[in-house]
């Protein structure tokens, strides 16, 4: 006997019961225990949120009035402390009357960074804009020309310094890390060991000690009369430190590219650098975007450690602003929320950007 196969026509999938109301009913109030737990947790959350709202908004003092702040102590936030101190926090010890200069310089640098993140701006003009904006930044910050009063780098501080240090560390560390990662996979043993020693040495010590060395020990090793600005030395230290970590992230990506890709590129006659640039790196870097952004964000926040060598970037100038003033010192907590919000705004933007990059790069990867 031969069974004849009856063709089964395609049917629609059975309806899926979704929607918020249904989810609440099944997941939060499925039985009386979870119902009670839900109500209890919602009540707790509401009570806590009300407390935050009460402290941060309803009973808060927004005027820079010390008397009012003292009166509200314990029941309301003193945002007046932030209003009183924000210029010192954001610009540090930069001369008060000249603070339009770091403001304009930082806005220009931020504009450049944002433009560099937007695909439509990736033209030849961007390459021209980088040196121009950087020159603009340093001339405006440092002065001494065009009738601008000279401001030495030890007076630079606050957010401009944070952004400048992170920009340089990241922009310089990234290509360096790619070279080091490639070096660790080189066919030449000498290059391999130099890169491995560099990574292990730098990664094996705390950033603070690298900064101390850059700041205090490096000048001792130099011939007398030969001086490099402390800012440059610290920048170099931070960059070398960031690059060591980043190199290992990049190396992870390189290892994930199948060897067949390299062989195919080689069999087409592509030379070593062409293979890396056209085939290996695009795939390797795309795979480790989350790790790279992790390192970038860490580098951004690590700039706060330059305080130990007396450079007052955002965290340092925040400490300076409140610690030096006994009257406002009790409201340092409010100040710390203020700089936390600034850090968060930057880090969150970076992380959203990396998500966008991931999505863009995943095109063509899906079946």
């Amino acid at each position: 006997m031969r069974a004849t196969l009856a063709a089964v026509a395609a049917r629609a999938a059975p309806p899926q019961h979704r929607g918020p109301l249904r989810w609440i009913r099944t997941e939060l109030f499925g039985n009386w225990v979870s119902g009670v737990a839900t109500l209890a947790l919602v009540g707790l959350l509401a009570w806590w949120l009300w407390g935050v709202l009460d402290w941060a908004v309803l009973h808060a003092v927004t005027a820079p009035n010390l008397e009012a702040c003292r009166a509200a102590r314990g029941s309301g936030a003193c945002w007046g402390a932030v209003v009183e101190k924000y210029r010192l926090v954001i610009f540090g010890r930069y001369p008060y009357g000249e603070q339009w200069r770091p403001l304009a310089a930082t806005l220009a640098l931020l504009g450049l960074l944002i433009a560099s993140c937007i695909r439509a701006c990736w033209t030849r003009w961007l390459a021209v804009a980088w040196p121009i904006v950087l020159a603009f930044f340093f001339v405006l910050m440092g002065g001494g020309v065009f009738g601008l009063a000279s401001v030495p780098t030890d007076r630079w501080g606050g957010l401009p310094l944070t952004i400048m240090l992170s920009t340089f560390s990241i922009v310089l560390a990234f290509p360096l890390s790619v070279l080091v990662a490639l070096g660790r996979r080189s066919a030449l043993p000498a290059i391999r060991s130099v890169c491995a020693v560099y990574v292990e040495l730098v990664r094996g010590v705390p950033l603070v000690s690298v900064l101390f060395m850059a700041s205090f020990m490096f000048p001792l090793l130099m011939p007398p009369g030969f001086a490099i600005d402390v800012l440059v030395r610290v920048l170099a230290g931070g960059t070398l430190f960031a690059a060591a970590y980043l190199a290992e992230v990049v190396r992870g990506g390189l290892q994930a590219v199948p060897v067949g890709q390299i062989e195919a590129a080689a069999s087409l006659g592509l030379g070593y650098w062409q293979r890396q640039r056209k085939i290996v790196l695009p795939q390797a870097l795309a795979m480790v975007v989350p790790g790279i952004m992790n390192s970038f964000i860490a580098t951004f926040k690590d700039t706060s450690l330059v305080t130990v060598v007396s450079l007052y970037e955002l965290t340092g100038s925040f400490g300076l602003a409140f610690d030096s003033d006994a009257e406002w010192r009790p409201y340092k907590g409010e100040g710390s929320l203020f700089i936390a919000a600034i850090y968060f705004a930057f880090c969150f933007s970076m992380s959203r950007y990396s998500l966008w990059v991931e999505k863009r790069l995943s095109r063509g990867r899906a079946r």
Partner: protein, 247 residues
């Protein structure tokens, strides 16, 4: 044989210190000759053809490809690679580039061809493997058979004198083997030198000028397909053929 395009002279290769993978290989391949290489896995057949474009180095002997000796010199290897196209078992298309970009990569970066000319030539090759309509897709959006045909087109873009095929149909679903073999048979009729590692014996009978059987790093037997399949000389060959043709 006068003026062979490939000449192996007593080539020896070891993996590490122990594994002697190629043993005293002497082989000459004439211009336009089509050779099919078979043998059990681990017999060195892939290693043999991978030496021809310098993907594998050898430790002893001499290997000349189109008048260029393959040596440690990177430049001579790169010159040879422009004359030799290769197709891999796992296709090895570049997943981050479209089909068209896969094909124009070498012409623009190795041969420094203008973009427009490279694209015209790429489309010509894609038509040749009957897949021109997929030019703007990404490799992973194609079936295995389509990917392998793109890989063949990519290898042809620099108009190589020699084509190497390393088990080109072994990773394909049975239904897709034929479409790839058809393209290869067509190519075989166009005068290009071909070396093909494969166990597709129907294909071998149809196109090979010469069969080579390898075992344990040696060339055990070489002959015309008729003799090779009809009257294998060695027991080892006979044994191998009975296994792969028997099922």
């Amino acid at each position: 044989m006068n003026d062979p395009i490939i000449r192996f002279e007593k080539v020896n290769k070891w993996y590490g210190n122990q594994f002697h993978v190629l043993r005293d290989i002497d082989l000459q391949v004439g211009r336009g000759e089509r050779i099919v290489i078979c043998g059990p896995s681990g017999s060195g057949k892939s290693t043999l053809i991978r030496c021809i474009n310098g993907l594998e180095e050898y430790q002893q002997g001499r290997l000349m490809v189109d008048g260029i000796e393959l040596s440690d010199d990177v430049r001579s290897t790169e010159r040879v690679r422009r004359e030799v196209g290769m197709v891999f078992q796992q296709f090895n298309l570049f997943p981050h580039l479209t089909v068209l970009e896969n094909l124009t990569l070498a012409p623009t970066w190795v041969a420094r061809m203008p973009k427009k000319e490279a694209e015209e030539r790429a489309m010509q090759q894609l038509r040749r493997v009957r897949i021109a309509e997929q030019a703007n897709k990404y490799p992973l959006q194609l079936s295995g058979g389509q990917q392998q045909r793109v890989a063949i087109a990519r290898a042809l873009c620099l108009t190589p004198k020699i084509m190497l095929f390393d088990e080109p149909t072994s990773a394909l679903d049975p239904e897709m083997i034929k479409e790839v073999l058809d393209v290869m048979i067509e190519l075989a009729g166009q005068g290009i030198t071909m070396l093909c590692v494969t166990h597709e014996m129907g294909f071998a009978r149809a196109v090979a000028d010469r069969m080579i059987f390898m075992d344990e790093g040696q060339i055990v037997e070489e002959n015309t397909p008729i003799e090779f399949f009809g009257h294998p000389k060695s027991d080892r060959t006979r044994d191998f053929l009975s296994k792969i043709l028997g099922h």
